[in-house]
Structure formats: C-alpha cells, structure tokens
Symmetry: C2
Subunit: 191 residues, 2 copies
DNA sequence: CGATTTTTTGAATCATATCAACGTACGTGG
DNA sequence: CCACGTACGTTGATATGATTCAAAAAATCG
C-alpha cells in the first residue's frame, strides 16, 4: 500500500529500507476532501504535509478581499502550507480543493519521530531543497518576465492545468487581474 | 578558529560534537575578495557555499541589460547561488562584492562528504528550510504589497543596509526603477 | 431551462516606466 | 588642494501597461 508514496521517497533517497518505509506507513492516514472545502485555513496551524492521490488543490492567500493563487497541485504532488508546518505557527495562506481530492496525511509529530532515521533527514533536506528551487524559479519569473511571458510559459509546462483551473485563478497566479489576462489571451490569439 | 561558523552550526543543530565541527574546519578555506569582483558569475557553476566574515555582497541577475538585485548579505550570513550549488549546474544569478569581503568557503564535494554524518544532514535540511521561508516571504511581499510598502518594510528590518547599498540597487530589489524609488522617497518625506 | 459563475469587452483612471536633462557628491590624478 | 570626470540621485514630461468599474456575452450547473 501507498505505492506511489514509496516511489516518491525512494526516488529522492534510494537508500530507504523496506522497514523504514513500513515505519512511514504506520504514520499515514487517508483523507477525502470534497470540492470547495479547505485542507488548511489561513490563521490555523498546518499540522500535516499531504500527498495528493487524486483531485486538484490550490494554495492561495488573501490580499485586500482578493484571492491570490500561488500554486496548483495534482495527483503525485505534495502539499502543505510549508512555513506553517515547519514552524507550527499560524498559516499565512490557505489550501482549498478545486476537484474532489484524496490526500494522504503525515503529521508533524510523526515527521519529527522519523527524523531519527538519517534517511528521513536526507529526505527532508531534499524536499526543502526542491521547494526552494521551485520558489526561486517562480520568484525569478515574477521579477523578470512580463505577464504575457509568464502565461506562455504556463501554457508550455502546465498545460494540463489550464483546462482544469478557472481562468481568474490563473490570472492571480500570473499576477494580473482576470480582465487583463483575458486581454492578453485575445492579443495572443490574433497571431 | 571559525568561531562564528561553529556558533551558526550549533544554533541550528545543538547536537554537533567538537569532533564533527573539527571535521568541518578541515574543509573550510578563507578567501578575500575586493569590491567590484565576483564571487559567482552567471553561467558558471557555484562550487561553494560561503560564510561572510566581513564585507557586503549582493546576489543579482541580469534581465534585458539591467541588473536585478535579489539579496544583500553581510557578516554572519551565508551566501551561494543555491540552486546552482545544489544541482552543480550553471548559475542563473551572479554574486558580486559591494564592500571588500572576507568569506569562508565550503566546497560541494566536502559538503557531500559531511552528509555522512546525520547531524550534517539535519543542518542541510534546516538551512534549506530557512531559505525556503525567506524566499516565501519575499515572494508574498512582491505579490501582495506595493513598492512603497516594500520600501517601508525594508527601512524597518534592514535599515543597516540602506546606508550601505546604492539606491538604484535597492530599487531593483524592491521591484521598481531608480527614478520611481526616488519619487517614492520624496512622497514619503512629505509626511 | 433558469440561475449562477466565468469570461469578455469598453471606457476611464492610475501606477509605473521611459527618456532626457540637470544637480550633486565623490574620488583620483595633477 | 583643486579640478575634473564619473557615478549616483532627482526632476519633469510623456508614454505604456495594468487596474477598476460596469455591463454584456458565454459557459456551466442543478
């Protein structure tokens, strides 16, 4: 059981023993969350890091009455309000469900226990490094590309999401208003 | 020797033994870099993660002929083009010296050797986590605050830097042109 | 189908960029 | 120690890109 998760762990740290992964299994719990519900709510402490088995979830925060989406996650991705999870302090962002989701939770206390194994330390390190790299690229993109360039980029490497995420959420992810994204698309289609 | 560095390591991982830190010392080398020179150049692989003993350095990248500063680092900070260091691939950003610097290098291969110790795995994990948190906050700030708010924030929690970093570099860090930052300052001074 | 949500369009406005000019400070060589 | 050159900061005028608000059109859902 939890095959996809074992694969994920072994890809980052091949040295994981069957016994170590069995230890992990004992910590995991499955949760089904319907569309529209929250996985984590701003202001609450994020208690789990969760693997997405099915569905589509989104991380976002609120800035003067408006949602700003910061990420979309599908089957095979891990999700958490990571800063909140790491520090066990209230989350600045929320995570909600766009398509009925099945997620597999790993709690904070269990994670700490697993860190007794060096392989889990290494896993935790590599996860944090990957998240850093992801965020670093997003940061660079926001600073050095125009909205249109960011949208084009999204078409190329996240085209599966474009069909599933409403355009007004993509707009905030790209950093523009829905109206402006609509105009960008119109302009692009004229070529 | 390398007292400040030992302190840095033990603050993140109190369990470090004297022997483990002595092992670290054998990997460290000091480098003096004068103002105007590069620590890492875009396109080259970042071979070291470096502790700043003295001086002031800056990370930046180039976007259509212009520099965009992404961070300023002083004594007590660690620097690297971290994605390049982690993946040993060419750096997207450069690091240069704004005030004559003394830095202490730790090479990639040595870092890998140290990861044999679980305590160094834990250290590496915590560093990556801190960097993630730092970047996450910067990201949020860029998306949800106005340039003026970002400048005010900078005054509050990096006021020491304002004296040492030329204003046009701060401008790109904040995400505006030098002219516009000048106007923001003028407007702020009218209150 | 009707009701609601999402996307598009238009017009006015605002924030920031650009370009060009000028002022000021600073460090260096004479 | 002065004068000059270079780098930095400021100011003004204009241009551009993105937002806002309002409304219509299109898509989605029960």
């Amino acid at each position: 059981m939890f095959k996809a998760i074992h694969k994920y762990y072994r890809e980052l740290v091949p040295a994981f023993s069957d016994q170590e992964l069995a230890e992990l299994d004992r910590c995991l719990t499955i949760r089904h969350i319907p569309k529209g519900q929250y996985v984590v709510r701003e202001g609450q402490v994020c208690r789990f890091v969760s693997f997405v088995n099915k569905g589509l979830v989104r991380e976002f925060y609120s800035a003067d009455q408006k949602d700003v989406s910061v990420g979309f996650f599908v089957a095979g991705d891990y999700i958490a309000e990571y800063e909140s999870f790491l520090t066990q302090t209230p989350a600045a962002a929320s995570i909600d469900v766009l398509e009925d989701a099945e997620i597999v939770d790993l709690g904070f206390a269990d994670m700490q226990r697993l860190y007794a194994y060096p392989n889990y330390q290494e896993f935790g390190r590599k996860i944090a490094e990957l998240l850093f790299i992801y965020l670093n690229r997003r940061n660079t993109a926001l600073l050095s590309f125009t909205p249109e360039e960011r949208y084009r980029k999204m078409i190329v490497d996240q085209h599966e999401l474009l069909q599933r995420v409403p355009q007004y959420m993509l707009a905030s992810f790209i950093g523009v208003t829905p109206e402006h994204l609509s105009r960008i698309r119109k302009k692009m289609s004229r070529n």
